[in-house]
């Protein structure tokens, strides 16, 4: 496996081994302002970029990236940038979000990027795809927890960006517990509140937020 040696700058620091990151923002402007340097750095380093956005927001997102100085059209044409709209129908099971299918899809796109020869993928999930589409918090948090079982296979930094105006207190705290580091107020900190996926899933079952098995 070839991995990139280039540094990853984010939130005023150089990323260490943390790869599953959460970011909290009060507005889309604040979010993009903080993430743009991270995005631009990866594209300049010939890394792959995968951005997951809420289906209705894709055109608007392209426009905002362009305004931020990213040449979206050429990056998409070359295959370097994928802007994926979620929730995709493949992720739904009887109308409900299926975390396992979403994990499978993430695994697949990260693996495909590597096979295409990219040394690294920078992933950003704009979590409005879930927050604006009545996806149950329990299923979403199960997905976040289980991502930690897949991401160690890659060396790719994945940022889950949460819009605070759409996130409940309960979701925010669970997000803190499922990500290795958190970007708050534009500053990235390693996160001591992280717990292993099995423990998080156990707690979600105890709270009745996901089905027991």
């Amino acid at each position: 496996m070839t991995t990139s040696n280039s540094r990853i700058n984010l939130g005023g620091t150089v990323l260490n081994g943390d790869r599953h990151l959460c970011a909290f923002f009060h507005s889309e402007d604040e979010g993009l302002r903080t993430l743009l340097p991270f995005i631009a750095e990866g594209l300049s380093a010939d890394e792959k970029a995968i951005h997951v956005v809420n289906a209705d927001d894709r055109e608007e997102y392209r426009r905002r990236l362009n305004k931020g100085g990213i040449d979206v059209a050429s990056a998409e044409q070359s295959g370097q940038l994928d802007i994926i709209a979620w929730p995709d129908s493949h992720l739904l099971d009887g109308g409900e979000f299926n975390p396992e299918r979403a994990l499978g899809m993430i695994d697949q796109v990260l693996d495909a990027a590597r096979k295409q020869g990219y040394r690294r993928t920078r992933g950003i999930g704009y979590m409005n795809w879930a927050l604006q589409n009545q996806i149950r918090a329990g299923a979403l948090m199960a997905y976040e927890a289980m991502l930690n079982t897949i991401l160690p296979r890659y060396d790719d930094p994945i940022i889950c960006a949460y819009d605070l105006s759409r996130s409940s207190g309960s979701v925010v705290l669970d997000v803190m517990r499922t990500h290795h580091a958190a970007l708050i107020g534009g500053v990235l900190h390693h996160n001591p509140f992280y717990i292993p996926p099995e423990q998080m899933l156990h707690e979600l079952r105890e709270r009745g937020e996901i089905a027991g098995r």
Partner: protein, 207 residues
């Protein structure tokens, strides 16, 4: 009293920092997690202040009885004070200067009465009608009061009652956080002056 002492509250970080935020999904979880903290203080002869909404007093007493704390006896002896937060001003805005003075006074009185330390547990349900920025400004300001007294203060937030935005800002105004069953030094804490500046900028965005 059967003290189920827990050394997680005796960690070194607690000696340096005095202000903890704690997050819960319901009152039962809150009392279960906070019971050792409450017990340890009472057993050590420390003063206790519990801030409980008047409407919640009965449930509170039942839960305290459930963990072996006799609220009425402790109130008679003066070791425990159960109080409500003073009424919020019109429009959900708090007066931080008045709050700082009031808290200062409570701690001074406890010390004059010979208590080595005061442990405060605040059920933050009282603040649900307070404007977000007013609550966060108060939390930031109170750090200066807690720093000059021998106190440990836990602000208990029910996650079902507060927005994601408030929860993040609460994290940023408390140097320690109790999440799940672990008390941690909180890397997201920002100094009060910086937080107040940010709140000011948020309500007065540059033109």
């Amino acid at each position: 009293m059967s003290a189920t002492s827990s050394n997680r509250f005796a960690e070194a970080v607690f000696e340096r920092y005095h202000h903890v935020c704690a997050f819960f999904h319901n009152s039962d979880e809150a009392i279960r997690r906070l019971a050792p903290f409450i017990h340890d203080g009472l057993v050590a002869g420390e003063h206790a202040i519990h801030i409980i909404n008047v409407k919640r007093r009965e449930g509170y007493k039942d839960r305290m009885t459930g963990i072996g704390v006799d609220v009425e006896a402790l109130q008679r002896s003066g070791q425990l004070e159960v109080m409500s937060w003073p009424r919020t001003e019109q429009g959900g805005v708090l007066d931080p200067d008045a709050a700082v003075a009031m808290i200062d006074q409570l701690f001074n009185t406890a010390r004059e009465n010979g208590y080595p330390r005061t442990r405060v547990v605040g059920d933050m349900e009282w603040a649900i009608d307070v404007r977000d920025e007013s609550l966060i400004a108060l939390e930031a300001r109170l750090n200066e009061v807690y720093a000059r007294h021998n106190v440990w203060v836990i602000c208990a937030y029910d996650l079902n009652l507060f927005s994601g935005s408030v929860v993040v800002d609460v994290m940023r105004t408390h140097p320690l956080a109790l999440v799940g069953d672990v008390l941690q030094q909180n890397p997201f804490y920002v100094p009060p002056a910086q937080m107040l500046q940010e709140l000011h900028e948020r309500s007065n965005p540059p033109a």
